[in-house]
Assembly symmetry: C2
Homo-oligomer: 269 residues x 2
DNA sequence: TGGTGGCAGTGGTCTAACCACTCCAGGTTA
DNA sequence: TAACCTGGAGTGGTTAGACCACTGCCACCA
């Protein structure tokens, strides 16, 4: 782990100046300046993944700002997944697997009314390409990992929660095998929300064995480097998955509301 | 604008308890609790896009936490684009056009070494589908907007910066016409980084008229609802765009380093 | 009528102190 | 010797209260 002495500091604009003209939009807020400052340090290589940034008190003093403002900036970057704050240890530049969203489509759906159908459509487009790319570019290690997950799926199709984990890993491995981490991240962003939803209803599923079969078929297409077939199977699989999830949700809804008319009372403080 | 009285507060866990067991990972930090609290309010409809959340002092008091902690949580949500903070006015639930990333691939590239080729590949996959969907689902108003942008492109192909704006708008309109806002957001995330890069080099481009031609072709394919052709033309267009950008960057690099060996000195404070 | 100055409301920043978590060195105990 | 405490140093998390800076609007004045 490199501990970086962030010496050459880009001077932050001063505040508290009595005769300053009105504050404008963009790069005024101190916290944004902190964000940009650290971003620059990362972009130009001064800070690299895994590096530890200086302790807050020290860093704040060097930047000639209060610790609170520094923390606001760090908070921003942490929210975006760029920094990784560990209480009692330090703050580090993210280095693990990337994560684009942070927003989790859950919220976006609440804000903009995204439908499950749209999410599945997006997923279908991304994953079918991912499967094709994986067939073209996948390496032996990927195939091995895929085979293992399929095996696990057969072994756990009577145990939905467990099954779901291997399902997820299978798809993630395909994404990795595609050789395009950007597409992989985009997929992850979408499926995270989808899986999260599915976890609540998967118990009711009765087609997990059939699902395992499809995954096996998918594996064989990829392994034999048949990109066209991989794409098609994936597309078919996801169409099935969509119907399955819709069914499960319908079941869940019925269960919760056993012929009653009221929509379930809302608790208040 | 609804001003919401956030009455029923989900009780936030207490801290500062002398006999508390060690702090664990997830939902401990006060700031995360604030994030989750507000997120819940949005997800269950208590807070809706455009709503104003209570003033910080008041809200903090209601939640029984310090203003600083509340601000940390708000900062997180603001970083993710969920909240919109306006100095001197208030804090609002985002309602404008969504924005997934926030991270801007720029950083991700610095952190994980994404290449421009990968970004173009991702873009190609997304946009070709977007074009096909637009051909299938686009409405008259979209076609009109597309036609206007093409016209503007012809009118400004001698003025690169201006041209680029219409180029961007053209593609954005296609995304809108596709009827899938999720795919649109994903595309926006990628192209934002790409355009940002291109803005620096587009001055050197000498093929803008040809580019306008392709866009016109694309428009005609979409307008005539020929999904297959739309996809193909888009794919071809983006392949061309990629080579063009690579060329421009090569030119730019040569220009900056006129046969000298040094890599340009770096200024220090 | 048309400014325009100022006030009220709200977010932004600062300070200084203290709390809570991690890690590890160094002593204690079995 | 080996396993176990213990406490301190380092670092992020939280609090409190004060003050600064921006926005919008209303009352006053020309």
């Amino acid at each position: 782990m490199r501990y970086v002495h962030v010496t050459m500091l880009i001077s932050l604009a001063r505040r508290n100046m009595a005769m300053s003209e009105p504050n404008h939009n963009h790069e005024t807020h101190l916290t944004m300046q902190v964000v940009n400052h650290i971003r620059r340090l990362i972009e130009n290589g001064t800070l690299r993944p895994g590096d530890k940034i200086p302790p807050e008190r020290e860093f704040a003093q060097k930047l000639k700002i209060s610790r609170a403002s520094l923390r606001a900036g760090i908070g921003h970057l942490a929210a975006m997944g760029v920094l990784n704050v560990r209480h009692g240890v330090g703050t580090f530049v993210a280095d693990g697997p990337p994560a684009l969203g942070g927003v989790s489509l859950d919220i976006l759906r609440a804000l903009h009314g995204y439908t499950t159908a749209q999410m599945f459509e997006a997923r279908r487009i991304l994953e079918s390409h991912l499967a094709a790319l994986a067939a073209e570019r996948g390496r032996e290690e990927h195939f091995t990992a895929l085979a293992e997950e399929v095996t696990e799926m057969y072994a756990t199709f009577h145990e939905p929660q467990e099954y779901l984990i291997h399902d997820m890993r299978f798809h993630r491995t395909i994404a990795e095998a595609s050789g395009n981490p950007i597409l992989a991240v985009l997929m992850e962003t979408i499926t995270a929300a989808l899986y999260d939803e599915r976890r609540k209803t998967v118990e009711r599923s009765r087609d997990l064995k059939q699902s395992a079969e499809v995954h096996r078929e998918l594996y064989r297409a990829i392994r034999s480097r048949n990109a066209r077939e991989a794409r098609e199977v994936m597309e078919r699989h996801l169409h099935m998955a969509e119907s399955a999830q819709v069914n499960e949700q319908a079941l869940a809804k019925e269960e919760k509301r056993p012929a009653a008319k009221k929509k379930s009372a809302r608790a208040s403080a």
